[in-house]
Amino acid sequence: MKLVVAYIRHEAFEPIRQELLELGFPSMSITEVKGSGRQKGVTEQYRGSSVTNYLRPKVKIECVVATGDVQTIVDSILRHARTGSIGDGKVFVLPVEQAYRIRTGESGEETLQSHPDPAAAV
């Protein structure tokens, strides 16, 4: 199993979520992060003094998938997150040794099984 971590722009998230859902990967977690990279900062002014904020808001996607599915996920992210301009972000792949589904207690790759119709469940 692998953990795919991606840092992307806010607008890119929704299309990615939808495609992964269609591909049968409804499960993921996102976090609002601040990223620094090649992108310019924003300069703020207040009553005369000013400060530059070098951190730009990004969305971090974390998605643990079976090793065989990694490329599918990465491709989908690369396709939708790309605008071609600085600040598009990065994707990283990390090894995962074990996984558990809390609800059932089951462990291993099957906890990552894609569900046909995620919307059906309550």
Partner: protein, 487 residues
């Protein structure tokens, strides 16, 4: 769809009106046409201006409640206050005012429904005939009091009551409960006329009545989920916004300068500035003592307690404001300030009153009413021609006894009437939202949207519904350098 049917009850009132003979209005108009006198103009202006400040207290109560709620339940209070204020206006106009002031009935009045066909105003509304303010002016002033009393009721119900409950009870309260209760105390009813109970601006008639309704609903509603731990000990559920709470307190304080001094129902006798001073001194003493008490009992100066101290002192001075001297006002306010802190801490142990309404309006309302029995200045009792001097001056317990009787009977009536009303609501429509709705918050579950969407909806969801609309790279530089911003 239940809720709809409920709300429709309110529509009935409207429909009814539309069928009224159009001659209706004439009365009101002619009545006023005649009164073009200087004295009427001056006194009416004062009472109306005072009423506007009292009307603004609606915002005060709204923000006091908003500040003391969690962010997920803040928006619903706006819809609630608007709806309640509206229902109160229509009900008090159609029925309430007539029951409260129309005629000399010991239990309730009977003339002036829809402000129509009441003939000679001074005969129609005897309890206010000492003032030459126009009936319209008096009505609006009294209506704002009804609205205040209704607003007080909901302080105990935050974060878990069903929205429709506001509407149903508001109809009953503004049409029957408040009018009858206030009629007894300052509408010319038995307590005032027969016994000489003193309640200048409504410590009992407005605040205790509201707080009593609040108690009735709380007993049937129960505490917020998570308020009491497994061990039964109360847990803090901090309000989400102390600045907005402070806004509420300051608006209420301002409104009280219409509430008490406006109850002179006139400006020409020069009494109203004295009432203002008495009110201010009491409130000040209340804040200071509440802060000191909070510091001593809790080791911290609780911000909410400072505000509760102001409200409690203002409630406490409401009844005596037209009867006592400045020095007494200081004592009354100081005692109220201590009482409210102790009372909030005590009540919190067992029942869940998020804003402290039971203490600030109930306990303080009782204290204020009794305070007349202690501190009423005989000269002012004579001036107002109601009751007599207090124990402190006369050494007699008579007035104090009258005040106590008034408190007990009014409380009993309002509590029973309200409890029955809420009990019926509970059995039919229901009082409380589901646990899931309570956890999700009333804003999303009752109104379909959070009061602060950005606090609850992740930014990616807020921007990105469906594929991106923006030209690629558009936002890449959304962090522009100043120079990049076309000036």
């Amino acid at each position: 769809m239940k809720r709809t049917t409920i709300l429709c009850a309110s529509v009935m009132a409207l429909v009814a009106l539309m069928l009224l003979p159009t001659v209706a209005s004439a009365d009101t108009f002619d009545a006023a046409g005649a009164e073009s006198l200087t004295s009427v103009g001056i006194n009416t202006m004062w009472v109306v201006v005072a009423a506007l400040f009292v009307m603004f207290m609606q915002a005060g109560f709204a923000f006091l409640e908003i500040g003391f709620s969690r962010g997920k339940n803040a928006g619903t209070i706006v819809a609630k206050i608007l709806m309640n204020f509206s229902i109160a206006a229509l009900m008090y106009w159609a029925v309430g005012f007539a029951l409260a002031f129309g005629g000399t009935g010991e239990l309730w009045g009977s003339t002036g429904f829809f402000l129509r066909d009441f003939g000679d105003p001074s005969v129609a509304f005897p309890a206010m005939s000492f003032s030459d303010v126009t009936v319209d002016g008096k009505f609006f002033f009294q209506f704002t009091f009804c609205a205040v009393s209704l607003a007080i009721v909901w302080g105990t119900t935050l974060e878990r009551v069903k929205f429709g409950v506001y509407a149903i009870y508001a109809v009953v309260f503004a049409a029957l409960i408040y009018p009858i209760g206030s009629h007894w105390v300052f509408g010319g009813g038995w307590l005032q006329a027969n016994l000489g109970m003193q309640d200048f601006a409504g410590s009992t008639a407005v605040h205790l009545i509201g707080a009593t309704g609040a108690l009735a609903v709380l007993l049937l509603l129960g505490p917020r989920r998570g308020k009491y731990g497994a061990d039964g000990r109360p847990r803090p559920i901090p309000g989400h916004n102390m600045p907005l709470f402070g806004l509420g307190i300051l608006i209420l304080w301002l409104g009280w300068f219409g509430f008490n001094p406006g109850s002179t129902l006139g400006a020409l006798d020069g009494r109203f500035p004295e009432v203002i001073i008495v009110t201010q001194l009491a409130a000040s003493a209340g804040v200071i003592m509440a802060i000191i008490t909070s510091r001593l009992l809790m080791k911290k100066i609780d911000i909410g307690m400072a505000g509760n101290g102001a409200i409690a002192a203002l409630v406490g001075i409401t009844a005596p404001s037209g009867y006592v001297s400045p020095w007494a006002a200081v004592i009354i306010g100081a005692v109220a300030g201590v009482l409210v802190v102790v009372s909030v801490l005590a009540i919190d142990r067992k029942i869940d009153d998020p804003v402290g309404a039971l203490s600030a309006h109930g306990i303080a309302g009782i204290w204020g009413t009794l305070a007349c029995g202690l501190f009423t200045n005989p000269a002012l009792a004579d001036y107002n021609a109601v009751g007599e001097g207090g124990l402190f001056y006369t050494g007699s317990f008579h007035q104090l006894g009258v005040q106590a009787l008034g408190v007990v009977t009014v409380f009993a009536f309002v509590f029973v009437a309200s409890f029955i009303t809420f009990f019926l609501i509970k059995k039919t429509y229901g009082l409380r939202v589901t646990a899931d709705e309570e956890d999700a918050g009333l804003d999303i579950s009752e109104h379909g949207m959070y009061g602060y969407p950005e606090q609850f909806i992740p930014a990616p969801e807020l921007v990105g519904v469906g594929p991106v609309q923006t030209p690629a790279g558009a936002t890449a530089s959304s962090g522009m350098k100043p120079s990049e911003v076309p000036a």
